[in-house]
């Protein structure tokens, strides 16, 4: 009994210390008022005045403010749009790669898997800077296209949404490939043969058998990309332009440029609430998959 309790307690304590406590702190700051102080908000808990005096000074003013300034909901919507589009783009690029990996001779698969994971061995920031070098007006891509004569004027890619999409697809591709690969690798080749034997062409066997049987992998991959992209900050601020509006960027500016910690915290709390929906759906998908395997 004691053993079981300890076993269950470990993950819960972990969650409590690393998620719930920080969240409560951020939530508390979001209910505070901005102040020229260090830290830059009031009130602070004081043993002398007691807990009730402290709580009475908290209010939802900052959340109300988020609804009044249209910057915030535009940023949320724009983030949502960028996250949805880039998730679909990642799926379009990732699925064929995962498919090719799963169909490759088995002695090649470990190597191909290695190649997918390899970029993680370098700093994420360095890789994004490398993309700046590729995409800028004098960058490798434009130089190459000019040299081949495809274009006569350099293309403006860096500091546009296109660059943001390229960066996101590049960065999050492994998260899409791995779950889809796992689903496709388990797929029994004889199911495809059975479909062909029963009158399917190659293409219809793919639509009727391969796609439905890799559905859980597709869903898992989409969530693994969508959830972090929604709050992404580094890629839009380095590759995006001034018109690239993403909530991660707004959050950063509120914290560090405006030093308005309460409003920034409110933005973070809302972002988290928005993310709970896809996270719950993702969990349900994983659970369903586990049940199907049993």
């Amino acid at each position: 009994m004691m053993r079981r309790f300890t076993l269950i307690a470990v993950p819960y304590l972990w969650l409590l210390a690393l998620f719930l406590v920080p969240f409560v702190i951020v939530f508390k700051i979001s209910l505070s008022d901005v102040a020229l102080a260090r830290p830059p908000y009031t009130p602070h808990f004081d043993w002398a005045t007691g807990i009730w005096a402290f709580l009475s000074e908290l209010d939802f003013e900052n959340f109300v403010f988020l609804t009044q300034d249209d910057l915030y909901w535009k940023a949320y919507l724009s983030s949502l749009k960028i996250a949805v589009i880039s998730t679909l783009l990642t799926l379009l690029v990732g699925y064929p790669m995962a498919y090719a990996m799963a169909r490759a001779p088995s002695e090649w698969r470990a190597t191909l898997m290695m190649l997918v994971i390899l970029p993680f061995w370098t700093s994420f920031l360095i890789r994004v800077y490398a993309w700046m070098g590729i995409l800028s007006n004098e960058g490798f891509l434009n130089q190459f296209l000019l040299w081949t004569g495809v274009i006569s004027e350099p293309l403006t890619i860096l500091n546009t949404n296109t660059a943001v999409y390229i960066g996101i697809v590049y960065t999050y591709l492994p998260f899409m490939i791995l779950p889809i690969y796992a689903a496709l690798e388990r797929l029994d080749e004889s199911l495809i043969e059975a479909a062909e034997d029963l009158g399917c062409s190659r293409l219809s066997a793919f639509w009727l058998v391969t796609i439905p049987l890799s559905k859980t992998g597709i869903i898992a991959g989409c969530f693994l990309v969508f959830i972090p992209v929604l709050g992404e900050f580094v890629i839009p601020s380095l590759l995006g332009g001034s018109d690239t509006l993403m909530i991660g960027k707004v959050l950063w500016e509120e914290f560090f440029s405006n030093r308005d910690w309460p409003v920034a915290s409110a933005v973070a709390v809302v972002l988290l609430l928005l993310l709970i929906i896809p996270i719950v759906l993702f969990q349900r998908n994983q659970q369903k998959q586990q049940e199907a395997e049993q």
């Binding site: 029994d188 004889s190 199911l191 043969e193 059975a194 479909a195 062909e196 034997d197 029963l198 009158g199 399917c200 062409s201 219809s204 009727l208 058998v209 439905p212 049987l213 559905k215 199907a292």
Partner: protein, 375 residues
């Protein structure tokens, strides 16, 4: 009333449904099928029997269209099948793993092929229900494959492959995953269904009992070649080689030298210096030719006293007794050290068995009991 005998292979007029013509299949350096020519007739239940890696599965996959012959041609109803892809062939296959679509219900699995044909909905429904009745699966129509037992899954796979009324049904080790009792029941079910539907069945199996039970003809294969094609009784009674005799059932092989001593009759000298054996054989052998005498254990009689008036008799000591319930197999060691197996039915209680270990016994068999095979 006479029942017409189903033997199209003996009818020179009959045209085979499937014709393999000098078919060879190579995978790199490995030759899976070696210059194979054979005809399979309509309504036959044809078994391809052999150890794993003998090419039987490759033969079936070529019929389904998943492999193409390296050389030679395969005809189905006179049509060359080489350019026809699997989805356009009038053949269906029941896979060893069953290959049921896990995301579809039993009903949808059976309807899968019919939908691809573009059949109208009411017809699909009729046909699926007919298949469900045939395989006694009505109750499970709405379940998913993982919610039913192995035997039921096997029947779904059969129903799905029969739904499109194929000219030819291919069965790849269809009963391999079932336990023995269920396998035996299913074998008879398969035969019934084959008779009811009149479909030509080609079954691949490594289980000789299964092949003998279900098939009208059996092809014994080894190393990409067909060694013998015949009805089960002929395969068992008159194997054409030591390989076939040894592969099907239990057999005693006695090596010796033949000397003709009459019409179709031979005296076989064997190494033990015992009296030569008398054998009647239709296979003609020359004087002094070395040969193998193959005798089934059940055709060897075991006696406590030396029998008289028999063609062949040898003395020995019981080395081992394999008790199988209905039968016992006695391993009898001859003075030379050779061991001959004799089988007899246990018509008495085991406590009243006439022989036990170390007993001296006499083994006897008739001149026609065995088959004389050339080297």
């Amino acid at each position: 009333m006479t029942i017409p005998v189903f033997e199209p292979w003996n009818d020179p007029e009959a045209k085979p449904l499937i014709q393999f013509q000098n078919v060879t299949k190579r995978f790199g350096d490995f030759t899976a099928i070696d210059d194979l020519t054979i005809g399979i007739y309509e309504k036959e239940f044809f078994a391809l029997l052999g150890p794993s890696g003998c090419g039987k599965t490759t033969m079936m996959r070529m019929l389904a269209g998943f492999e193409t012959p390296t050389e030679g041609k395969i005809f189905l109803s006179g049509q060359d099948m080489a350019p026809v892809p699997p989805n356009k062939r009038a053949t269906n296959m029941m896979f060893q793993s069953y290959a049921l679509f896990p995301h579809l219900s039993i009903w949808e699995n059976i309807a899968f092929g019919l939908k691809r044909e573009g059949m109208a909905k009411p017809q699909i429904s009729d046909r699926v229900n007919e298949m469900l009745r045939l395989t006694r699966l009505e109750k499970f129509a709405s379940r998913k494959p993982h919610q039913i037992s192995g035997g039921q899954r096997q029947r779904v796979a059969l129903a799905r492959s029969l739904a499109k009324k194929p000219k030819l049904l291919l069965l790849d080790e269809p009963l391999g995953a079932l336990d023995k009792k269920l396998r035996q029941d299913t074998q008879f079910e398969l035969m019934d269904i084959q008779e009811q539907t009149g479909t030509t069945f080609v079954i691949v199996t490594h289980d000789q009992e299964e092949a003998m039970t279900v098939a009208s003809r059996v092809a014994v294969m080894d190393n990409g070649r067909i060694i013998q094609v015949a009805t089960p009784d002929r395969i068992y009674e008159t194997p054409n080689s030591v390989y076939v005799a040894d592969f099907i059932g239990e057999v005693n092989i006695i090596d010796g030298t033949a000397t003709p001593n009459g019409e179709n009759s031979y005296s076989v000298a064997w190494k033990d210096g015992q009296a030569p054996l008398n054998v009647v054989s239709p296979n003609s052998l020359s004087d002094g030719q070395s040969c193998h005498l193959a005798i089934r254990p059940e055709k060897v009689t075991i006696n406590a006293e030396k029998p008289t008036g028999v063609d062949n008799v040898v003395a020995g000591k019981i080395l081992d007794i394999a008790y199988l319930g209905n039968l016992s197999t006695y391993h009898v060691e001859l003075p030379s050290g050779a061991v001959i197996k004799a089988q007899s039915a246990n018509t008495r209680r085991i406590s009243r068995r006439a022989f036990t270990w170390e007993d001296t016994v006499w083994l006897s068999w008739t001149a026609t009991a065995g088959v004389l095979l050339a080297e």
